[in-house]
């Protein structure tokens, strides 16, 4: 804004010229979109570039996750372009901000579809975001959509492919491991939205099948930060495994109160399946010592898998700083999604939606963060390796790995 003391005392009118200037400026800003980035290939070709659209939360509450997704896309598109593009055509990357806000998102996604006419859209982090934008992409937009984040499963819309882990992938190996390592009496404190409800529904079955017992399952408002009643319930009922899906901002204070009540001292253990490198800093390391998580990637996997090590090193070189390549933010799902789509386009030989979808239905990649991955034919979900890790002194140790690729068991 440019008005200030100079205007004071003057009549509150605006000259026509200034009005026009401002209108033009505003229109320009709206048309180009303040939260839009276009990254063009640095080589030209006779063929039209392929347009990849990313719609993710660059700003707002989960901006850290969205930026990790966008970084991964930038890194991969640069790689692909450096290697000659796909089908001899370079890739233009178009990134739109969904701003952690569904109503903003729908408008921005429409820009990708209607104005830019992208060939594929990847993105969305929360399930509510996916539900808000999928119609604009898949149904009205007649475009492919790839959703990268771990979620509750059950998204079976045609032309919508999911590359993050489902409850089956996060529980089938993990919960038996917890029980084998001494967990018996489970508490399932959870945030009150769809993912924890669905995850707990699945987890409860696996717990009971594997010989554990669910002492209580309880849901809290998403912004609750005071957990004394819950902690007391855990302590008095002799729970020895808190398997929680409470989210930030509550999860930090919850773990702290639990620790202060003497839960860890008495031998109680924690498990939280979205915990990755981004969430390690919410608590002091001693408060979450021994916390177990199960995801498709942890940074510690670089010691197991040379391909993961290479990808991680490249990411760290291009994007040093606070935005990490982590599984909980969907960044690893974004990697798989883009690479699987690349493989599918190469197989299809063109960008026709049906042809690419048909090829994507059984696409495979041999390398990615965490290892190889492949789509389960007819399911539009992705098989991947899963790792169980335990927090130790502010880092993760990998303590178990799935033998092969774990099935998403959905759709």
């Amino acid at each position: 804004m440019d008005h200030g003391n100079a205007d004071r005392g003057a009549a509150p009118t605006m000259s026509r010229r200034r009005l026009l200037q401002r209108a033009a400026w505003t229109a320009g800003a709206i048309a180009t979109g303040v939260g839009s980035w276009v990254i063009r290939p640095d080589w030209a070709s006779a063929a039209e570039p392929i347009k990849v659209g990313i719609a993710t939360d660059l700003t707002g509450a989960i901006g850290y996750a969205g930026n990790a997704n966008a970084n991964v896309a930038r890194m991969l598109v640069k790689d692909i372009n450096d290697a000659g593009g796909i089908l001899g055509r370079p890739i233009t990357l178009l990134i739109e901000d969904t701003a952690s806000n569904e109503s903003v998102a729908v408008g921005n996604v429409r820009k990708l579809i209607q104005r830019d006419k992208v060939d594929v859209v990847l993105g969305g982090i929360t399930s509510s975001m996916r539900n808000a934008i999928k119609d604009a992409i898949v149904a009205r937009g007649k475009t492919l959509y790839i959703y990268p984040e771990l979620y509750e499963g059950g998204e079976c819309t045609p032309y919508l492919f999911c590359t993050g882990p489902t409850p089956a992938q996060q529980c089938d190996e993990f919960i038996p491991w917890l029980i084998k390592n001494g967990a018996k009496r489970f508490a399932l404190p959870a945030a009150n939205y769809v993912w924890p409800h669905k995850l707990n529904e699945y987890a409860r079955k696996v717990i009971e099948r594997s010989g554990g017992e669910v002492i209580f399952e309880e849901y809290y408002p998403l912004d609750q930060v005071e957990y004394s009643a819950t902690v007391n319930k855990i302590m008095t009922n002799k729970v020895d495994m808190v398997f929680t899906t409470v989210i930030s901002p509550g999860v930090g204070p919850f773990f702290k109160q639990l620790y202060e009540a003497g839960y860890a001292k008495r031998g109680g253990k924690l498990a939280c399946v979205y915990y990755d490198e981004d969430t390690l800093n919410i608590n002091a390391p001693h408060e979450i010592e021994g916390l177990a998580s199960c995801l498709d990637y942890f940074r510690a996997v670089i010691h197991d898998d040379p391909a993961s090590a290479r990808i991680q090193a490249e990411y760290d070189k291009q994007f040093p700083g606070k935005i990490l390549l982590s599984a909980g933010s969907g960044a690893t799902g974004m990697y798989r999604g883009l690479k699987l789509w690349e493989a599918a386009v190469k197989e299809a030989g063109n960008l026709d939606r049906d042809a690419v979808a048909a090829a994507l239905d059984h696409a495979k990649i041999s390398e990615g963060p965490g290892g190889p991955a492949e789509m389960v034919p007819g399911k539009r979900h992705c098989k991947m390796k899963m790792y169980t890790a335990v927090a130790k002194g502010g880092n993760y140790d990998i303590v178990a790995r799935s033998d092969g690729l774990v099935d998403p068991k959905t759709c």
């Binding site: 700003t59 509450a61 009150n192 609750q224 004394s228 819950t230 901002p249 930090g252 009540a261 606070k322």
Partner: protein, 285 residues
């Protein structure tokens, strides 16, 4: 028995946290008639200052000491630049301070990368009192809150500064005629409210960790507390804060947590309906 004692301490300590957060909000609302929607962000700034000082390698308590002064200075600048234009228009003040809060919140979000970061307590560990595990830091917060409350009360009711503040509020023209600079008094009062917010942020950040929405989390509860307690007195918002804090922490012991969250609001609204002036209605300090 043990569990009951546990409950009492936990409920008390959360009540103290809410009181601490509400204190500055109440001072500004009661003394100046301004509903400061950026109050939550002042709390956030206090927390952020503590984090910055700590990450610079200095002890946490140094950050906690610095926070009220940093936020007071910030509040003073804001009052001179923005708030003083709003005294005649309380509704515009709400919108204006909300916008201000938004700018602060999103700036801090950018600075911390949107993450949740832990800040250690200056006093770590828990005490065992009569078989009950009591977090030492939460106990410290209860004690500091009590001291700050008494200190603020004495400042506003027993000192000549407090007298001038009340005079400037009650009858600005007469105060000015008596040689009191109301403009300076307002600026100092606002800075004082901001300092209390900064202190609250500094003290609670080890409990809740640092994140951009730390302040807004407490804003709604804060306003509810001021409404419940009644505007115009010092004790009103404090009592309201205690009531809201205690209810928020105590109800989940009795009913499902999702229901408890709603019940706090229902109880507060019903109460205000029956007693529109709030818990402590009436005159000024």
């Amino acid at each position: 028995m043990e569990s009951a004692l546990n409950a009492i301490f936990d409920v008390l300590s959360f009540g103290a946290i809410i009181v601490l957060v509400v204190l500055g909000l109440g001072v500004i609302a009661s003394m100046m008639g301004i509903f400061n929607f950026a109050h939550g962000e002042f709390v956030l700034l206090g927390a952020y200052t503590t984090y910055l000082v700590h990450s610079a390698g200095l002890p946490v308590w140094a950050g906690m000491l610095a926070a009220p002064f940093v936020v007071a200075a910030f509040g003073l600048v804001i009052e001179r630049l923005v708030i003083r234009r709003f005294y005649a228009a309380p509704i515009a003040a709400m919108v204006g301070t909300y916008a201000l809060g938004l700018v602060i919140r999103e700036s801090v979000r950018g600075l911390i990368g949107g993450l949740y970061l832990f800040v250690p307590e200056p006093i770590v560990g828990s005490l065992s009192i009569a078989g009950v595990q009591v977090s030492q830091w939460r106990l410290a917060i209860v004690i500091i809150t009590a001291l700050v409350m008494v200190g603020s009360y004495l400042l506003l009711t027993r000192t000549s500064f407090g007298l001038r503040v009340r005079a400037a509020l009650e009858n600005p023209s007469l105060a000015r005629a008596s040689g009191i600079s109301t403009s300076a008094i307002y600026a100092i009062t606002f800075a004082f409210g901001a300092a209390l917010a900064g202190l609250a942020g500094a003290l609670v950040v080890p409990v809740f960790s640092l994140f951009a929405d730390l302040g807004i989390r407490f804003l709604i509860q804060g306003f509810l507390a001021v409404m419940l307690g009644g505007v115009g007195t010092f004790e009103g918002p404090v009592a309201g804060g205690a009531a809201i804090g205690v209810m928020s922490a105590a109800l989940p012991w009795a009913v499902a947590p999702v229901l408890a969250d709603v019940l706090v609001f229902v109880i507060a609204i019903v109460f205000v309906k029956l007693r529109p002036g709030g818990l402590i209605a009436g005159g000024r300090v």
